[in-house]
């Protein structure tokens, strides 16, 4: 009798733990993708792009507009741009996958435009000027999103089966198909990125710029074009992350501010110049965030604190991150 109760008790505990881990893995994958985008820019330009989240956010809203005539699932308030969307976009209510592909293309274009017309003219200016511009972009794009789509929270239709019954039971916990799908997507991104960077000429140019920008330019590497491609890819990844997160969490203009902090924390913990670190950091932050409310007694509305504390701790103990290179300063 006692033993049975005990088994039941530990079973429930186990179930909660596994469930929380699955939840953390979902958000962790989103943070990891955004962190990956941040790391890509940081590696090639030494710049932290504070607008990375907002650029992705705009992509998320593009998905929303392409998806449905009301612009949202379960919300009847029409959004600006909807009339435009149904009139001008062929075959308008696009299926979820097509909408996300469209948003990713938009994200790539946005990234390329930002690099070409905003960041490139600032080449050679101080890091402070360049970072200021990304902060300006953060504020500006957030304002534009607010202006066009309003402040309502909206749910994006998930491209993966996302009904109540769409899960695999593991140890009594529910591993949802969306979580599996998001991780599969992340793995595909990583494989594609690795192939791109290791096997293609553009990737070689990218690596050359990462290791020595001026040297690369001197031996004829097309620095500008490569950087434009880098920004386009990073921004596309951000748009993908925003579109996927919109399926689970509602999309709102403030969503990406929080996500940006999680992603930056993930990138910091993993090491700002390490793609591997970004993935590991994303997972760590996602798990910290989902495990700390039940096990550390942190109220759910304060879930921003554990990742923040983890970032501060990482800075204090291991400032270059888990996988980052130790910087060498030259006078």
């Amino acid at each position: 009798m006692v033993e049975a109760t005990w088994r039941h008790f530990t079973g429930a505990l186990m179930e909660l733990l596994v469930q929380r881990c699955f939840d953390g893995m979902f958000t962790g994958a989103i943070y990891a993708s955004l962190a990956l985008a941040i790391v890509m820019i940081y590696r090639s330009t030494g710049l932290l792009n504070f607008a990375q989240g907002e650029m992705g956010l705009m992509g998320g809203y593009v998905t929303l507009t392409l998806l449905s005539p009301t612009g949202a699932v379960g919300v009847s308030i029409p959004i600006a741009g909807t009339a435009f969307a149904s009139r001008w976009i062929p075959l308008h209510p696009w299926p979820a996958w097509a909408a996300i592909v469209g948003a990713v293309a938009f994200g790539a274009l946005l990234g390329a435009v930002v690099e070409r017309f905003i960041m490139r003219p600032l080449t050679g200016r101080s890091t402070l000027s360049q970072v200021n511009v990304t902060i300006g972009l953060l504020i500006l794009i957030n304002g534009i999103v607010f202006q066009i789509w309003g402040s309502f929270s909206r749910k994006v239709k998930s491209p993966f089966p996302n009904e109540a019954a769409d899960y695999v039971g593991i140890l009594g916990a529910r591993l949802r198909y969306t979580t599996v799908g998001v991780w599969a997507t992340l793995i595909v991104i990583i494989v594609l990125l690795t192939l791109l960077i290791q096997k293609t000429k553009t990737g070689l140019a990218f690596r050359a710029i990462t290791s020595n920008r001026e040297g690369a330019a001197l031996v004829g590497v097309p620095v500008n074009r490569t950087l434009t491609i880098g920004w386009a890819i990073a921004s596309a990844i951000g748009a993908l992350a925003a579109s996927l997160v919109g399926g689970a969490i509602t999309l709102s203009p403030v969503l990406m501010l929080n996500l940006l902090i999680y992603a930056l924390a993930a990138a910091t913990i993993g090491g700002l110049d390490s793609p591997r670190g970004a993935i590991a950091g994303g997972l760590i932050i996602g798990l910290t965030q989902s495990l700390s409310p039940p096990y550390l007694g942190i109220p759910t509305e304060l879930t921003l604190l554990p990742p923040l504390a983890a970032m501060v701790l990482a800075l204090a103990v291991r400032p270059h991150g888990l996988f980052g290179t130790v910087p060498v300063n030259r006078v």
């Binding site: 504070f50 600032l122 050679g124 300006g136 534009i144 607010f146 304060l302 501060v312 800075l315 910087p327």
Partner: protein, 339 residues
Amino acid sequence: MTTISNEQDAMAASPALPAARMSRMSKIGLVVLAITVAIPPFVVTPLELTKLSRLVVLVLAVLGVNLLTGYTGLISLGHGVFVGVGAFAMANLIDQGMSLFLAGFLATLFTGAVGLVLGLPALRVRGLYLALVTFGTALAFPPLLRRLGTWTGGVTGRTVDNDAFVPPSLLGLDDDVHIWRYGVCLAVVALWFVIIRNLVNSRMGRALRTVRDNEAAAATFGISVRYAKAGALAISAAMTGTAGVLQSLLNPYVSHADFDSFLSLRLYAAAVIGGLGTLAGVIFGVLALILIPTINGAFELLDSDAIVFGAGLIIMTFIAPTGIAGLFKGRDRGKSESP
């Protein structure tokens, strides 16, 4: 190549060595400023004057950002937090029965200490980590305030006992409390301005600018980079705390909603738009902070003025890296700064 252009950029942003005498432009500017701040009490309603006072004290917050970013090269995206810490510290210290002066002083010190605690881990490393940590704090601040109900009044916010914030009877201003309050705010702001002006023209100010332009070189000169940064952060947070102290006295009701992350972003944008690394830039920055929302509201142009602040920040970085203040200075000295 990068190094050289970095230096040029930094030099363009830094003011000339401490001038023993003020330039003619600065003198004219000071007179214009003195006249400008003297006008409102005579022309606007008491309510509007109180509103204006609340914005005027934000000079301290923008000055705080400027000291940190303009003079030391550190980015803080969380100065709204320090305004909030100052305001709530003040409210709670008044509850303890302290005099306003003592409470304000302690609240200022407390905010400086909070800034130090927040920044120390980030300051150990070079780079943009302070921006990360402060921005994260700015985002976590409102939910944190909602949880700390004992001190902050939770979701609804709390009132501040500002009954003692009235003119002494011998001034005969009993019917014009708002004018007296406006005057006190101006005096406190002016006091901080003088302190910071002397600070940036002192040994410490030169140390800060050296740290900004080249950390390694600063260390070789015997400047303790870590102390310089920590000191700048503490002073910057403290003066921003004073802004919160005054705000809480002007509007005796403070809540988490007043200190969201966009306050921090706006303060940062205002500091850059006004001009980093010059004290005149602070004035222009606060003018931007006051005028942009006012104009936007009056003409009902945009749902949110964030677009203007963001675009302003980007445009100013392109056409005038030294901000509005730099535009004036450039005319004064001829074409001395071309980035």
